[in-house]
Amino acid sequence: MTSQEYAFVVTAVLGALAAVGTVTARNVVHAALYLVVALASVGVTFLLLGAEFVGWVQILIYVGAIVILFLFGLMLTKAPIGRDSLDGKNRVVGAVVAVLVFAGLVGLVQAAFPFDGAPALPAAGGSLDIGTAMFTDYVLPFEAVSFVLLAALIGAIVLARKDEGDPR
């Protein structure tokens, strides 16, 4: 156990708790805040793994932008508060399925990458390489993603905007 690993474990536990909180909280705002914590812990994990660029992007975009978006969404839709209004009737089924998934995934992970004797990860690094790659090999996906974002943007505006009169 290195110090980095300790830090990761703390972050991960925090993040995990926050994640569970996100999906179980009875108050929408609480849920959103839990989400902030969970996403931030993921960002911290990235940083701990040495992926600085991705880590900061995570923190800025998710914590900074997306969660705000969620909050706006919650306010606009006047989301009510309370277990019944947030959770559906299939909590049990959902829980069973989720536990199964978790067990399965952990099983697979443990089998494929046994904990005992697993080597410590080196730092991911490469933030500079990312910049280069983004505009050389990855220029095509980059352009494509920009179209996805553009489409999402335009489409979201069209759908979300309040029409006066004619257009359905």
């Binding site: 839709t77 978790f102 990860l121 996805v148």
Partner: protein, 100 residues
């Protein structure tokens, strides 16, 4: 440093929590949040493997996933708002006009 299985386990937990949220939450925005958790789980994997393999590909991939996730959130919220405007409710279990 950090051992891979630990990271992967964290990711699995995020992913499972997300699945639970998608299945159990009735509020559409909550579902969107749960999905974000799942996508983040993926990113955790990608970055961890990127570190293990000492290759930026994983990180690149993660960046694209983040971008796409942002787009999805935008689309999702637009749909939710649209639904809310027409129904004054965003509980997905009440949305079952279309069936059979």
């Amino acid at each position: 440093m950090i051992r891979l299985p630990l990271v992967l386990t964290f990711s699995a937990l995020l992913f499972s929590a997300g699945i639970y949220g998608v299945l159990a939450r009735r509020n559409a925005v909550m579902i969107l949040m749960a999905i974000e958790l799942m996508l983040n789980a993926v990113n955790v994997n990608l970055v961890a493997f990127s570190a293990q393999l000492q290759d930026v590909t994983g990180q690149m991939f993660a960046l694209f996933v983040i971008a796409i996730a942002a787009a999805e959130v935008g689309i999702g919220l637009a749909l939710v708002i649209l639904l809310f405007r027409n129904r004054a409710s965003i509980n997905v279990d009440e949305v079952s006009l279309l069936k059979w």
